[in-house]
């Protein structure tokens, strides 16, 4: 599934990363706790989250996540989009809730991928 297809499926606005829409992604994760993303996530390339701060981008950068989906139509905090652009990460915003966003994408074949427990 491409980032562009994700945007279409969840009716999301592309806030930054227009150039990344053709990029293919295989797995995703949903989390509001960056500590968990850093500790448990492996090889997921999409982060679905309700957090909109710069650390969401930094965390994604460390984890090689290439696309952040902001749920519930939240607007990014100051500096988030600039940092994402700099880091080569696409940011999408959808009005769907976290649960529904994950459900739609999972249903269309975007899996949770491998999860490594500590």
């Amino acid at each position: 599934m491409t980032i562009g297809e994700i945007a279409k499926l969840i009716n999301a606005e592309v806030l930054t990363g227009e150039g990344l829409l053709s990029k293919n992604v295989l797995t995703a994760c949903g989390a509001d706790l960056m500590s968990d993303v850093l500790a448990f996530i492996k090889n997921q390339s999409v982060l679905i989250t309700g957090l909109t701060n710069a650390q969401t981008v930094r965390t994604s950068e460390m984890m090689d996540i290439v696309c952040i989906v902001i749920v519930r139509g939240k607007q990014p905090a100051a500096g988030m989009l600039e940092l994402a652009e700099e880091s080569g990460i696409a940011v999408l915003s959808t009005s769907y809730s976290m649960y529904t966003t994950c459900g739609i994408l999972y249903d269309k074949g975007l899996s949770g991928g491998e999860r490594i427990l500590a």
Partner: protein
């Protein structure tokens, strides 16, 4: 590969900038052609430490040495120190502020995760003096 040394100053005042040093290190490691898995382990370990430096100390200094054997990351702050290192190493234990928690951190996973992503980790801390965390990530095993 020649021996390399990088030094990063971490600003303790601005939480939104936490992670800049780890981002720079990650770029440098990528340019050295190290494997993506190794680069990610080093980046995660240092990023967790950098968040701790900003959340619990007033910033600090990070020295990174790279040779053919390992990436060695030494993170030194002059913050309030850790009272009980054994307790701090336990998953779920945290003294982070509400502000830090709202940013998605402070789950008590930082130090355990740094240990998980490094091959060697040592924490030296004295209350009122500061904390030094040394991590080694082995290159030779690759």
């Amino acid at each position: 590969m020649p021996k390399l040394h990088f030094r990063y100053e971490v600003d303790g005042d601005d939480f939104t900038r936490a992670g800049e040093a780890s981002s720079k290190l990650k770029q440098s490691l990528k340019q050295l052609g190290l494997s993506p898995q190794l680069v990610r382990r080093a980046a995660i370990a240092m990023y967790e430490g950098e968040i701790n430096m900003v959340a619990h100390a007033d910033g600090g200094v990070i020295d990174v040495d790279i040779d053919t054997v390992a990436i060695t990351i030494v993170m030194k702050d002059t913050g309030k120190g850790i009272e009980d290192i054994g307790q701090a190493m336990k998953e779920g234990f945290s003294t982070a502020s509400e502000e830090v928690r709202q940013m998605g951190f402070g789950a008590g996973m930082g130090l355990p995760n740094m240990k998980k992503h490094s091959d060697y980790m040592k924490v030296d801390s004295e209350v009122g003096v500061g904390t030094t965390v040394t991590m080694k990530i082995s290159i030779a095993d690759e």
